[in-house]
């Protein structure tokens, strides 16, 4: 098994992927992406960069499998309960003043955070005035997200998270168990639209009062973070909210002056004007 990838091989791999398949990983954070490449090679029992390049150039379905594998699709329901509590207490009451509420979940992976949001909106009585746009660059993720399937063994953790976030209902009422997985109640999906959108290459497509993009920026370098924060700024209404992951920061971003913190610890910001 190979242990690392040199910078020149890495650059070349990224170039092959971009030129041949149109996915641009140029401005991804290097340490993490290199690791994903190595991990994929181990999974496919590929022990040389030469072989990896060769297969990338010659087998289209090989790339489809690779892109699914190298993008990080890990997500949880109510990850960081304190964040959801802050949403309940500080953001949703403000959103309630709009007749129509539009929310964008950018990089939603398999949808666990989208459904967490849907539960909050339902409990706040806002769901019927809401439309959630849930996007990801990865079509396989979106398919999973639309199905609303979650592994049963995770539900214990998620129930705990839900309660910590200030949830007072019976969490099991939001899903039905089917063997080793659960299906999220279809009513929660009634105002969610899932579709493909790539933050690297795609543009503004609507205007939102809240954008959630948690733990996506960590895979981008500063250049790409800069681009995406601009995209978010242009996609937010005046005074619209932006939520990032708890360890993600606007501190290293030129656009930071256009946002003000609403809840600094939980990384909720607001467009200034």
């Amino acid at each position: 098994m190979i242990e690392g990838i040199s910078n020149s091989d890495f650059t070349e791999l990224v170039k092959i992927i971009q030129q041949r398949y149109g996915y641009d990983f140029t401005d991804y954070a290097v340490a993490s992406l290199k690791r994903r490449f190595v991990r994929f090679m181990a999974y496919k029992h590929i022990d040389s960069i030469f072989e990896l390049k060769h297969r990338l150039l010659n087998e289209t379905h090989f790339f489809q499998e690779m892109v699914q594998y190298i993008t990080v699709n890990v997500t949880e329901m109510f990850r960081d309960p304190s964040f959801y509590k802050a949403l309940r207490e500080q953001v949703l009451p403000r959103l309630a003043s709009y007749p129509n509420i539009k929310i964008w979940h950018a990089g939603c992976a398999s949808g666990e955070e989208v459904y967490s949001m849907a539960i909050l909106l339902e409990e706040a009585g806002l769901m019927d005035r809401c439309r959630i746009y849930a996007t990801d660059m990865n079509a396989a993720n979106l398919k999973k997200a639309e199905e609303g399937r979650v592994t049963l063994k995770e539900m214990k953790d998620y129930t705990y998270n839900y309660i910590q976030s200030g949830g007072i209902h019976d969490f099991s009422g939001y899903y039905t168990a089917h063997g080793d997985h659960v299906i999220i109640q279809p009513e929660l999906k009634r105002n969610i639209i899932f579709f493909q959108h790539n933050l690297v290459t795609d543009q503004v497509f609507n205007e939102f009062q809240l954008i959630c993009c948690r733990n996506v920026f960590i895979y981008f370098n500063k250049t790409l973070q800069e681009r995406v924060v601009k995209l978010f700024y242009e996609s937010l209404t005046s005074l619209g909210y932006l939520a990032l992951g708890l360890k993600e920061s606007l501190l290293y971003n030129e656009e930071r002056v256009k946002f003000e913190p609403v809840n600094a610890a939980n990384k909720i910001f607001r467009r200034k004007t």
Binding site: E3, A31, V74, E76, F78, G245, K247, E248, L251
Partner: protein, 193 residues
């Protein structure tokens, strides 16, 4: 002419049974310390954690944010529920991918990441623990020419982790807690000279 410093980063990894040792080490930490220190502890996720504050007895310990630069003299603690990686420009980057060795943060990933960036100028210390996280990371540190140390399994509350690292690497040095304290204070004096 001044020689380049022997180490540019010190990493300490620990799991079950390592907290008391870590506190002892921190209480003996020379201040100011000449290089960045990164602590990776296995810990719970999705809880309100004040581990950084609990450890900040002698000096402030912070959980780095994504893209934060590693600075000399600062002590960093890997945040819960993320892997902590290091980029070539000596900034942190976080990663929320699959668990490694049932852990996130995984000690292996931070150790290997530091070895890839700082090569021979890395010192990694692995304390008590009940799984084998850290063994592969220490191998990478040693293979890059750096220094790999484990808490002597005989003195560790859980010997699995240090023992796994010894079994995986003939080059690992086993030290008592006192010897580790001594090693750390030597970094401080050597790097200054």
């Amino acid at each position: 002419m001044t020689l380049p410093p022997k180490y540019r980063i010190l990493l300490i990894g620990g799991s079950a049974g390592s907290m008391a040792v870590l506190v002892t080490l921190l209480n003996h930490f020379p201040s100011p310390f000449p290089i960045p220190v990164v602590i990776i502890m296995h810990r719970l996720k999705n809880v309100v954690s004040e581990l950084d504050k609990l450890l900040s007895v002698q000096q402030v310990i912070r959980e780095p944010e994504d893209k934060e630069p590693l600075l000399p003299g600062k002590i960093y603690l890997a945040p819960q529920n993320y892997h902590l990686l290091i980029e070539e420009d000596a900034t942190f980057s976080l990663d929320y991918s699959e668990l490694v060795n049932f852990s996130r943060p995984a000690i292996d990933l931070s150790f290997a990441g530091a070895a890839a960036v700082f090569g021979a100028q890395v010192a990694g210390i692995l304390l008590s623990g009940a799984n084998n996280d850290g063994a592969a990371g220490l191998s990478r540190i040693i293979a890059a020419g750096g220094t790999g140390i484990v808490q002597d399994p005989a003195t560790a509350e859980f010997d699995v982790m240090p023992q796994a690292a010894i079994d995986a690497n003939p080059g690992v040095q086993a030290m008592s807690v006192e010897e580790i304290i001594h090693f750390i204070s030597n970094i401080s004096t050597e790097n200054k000279s």
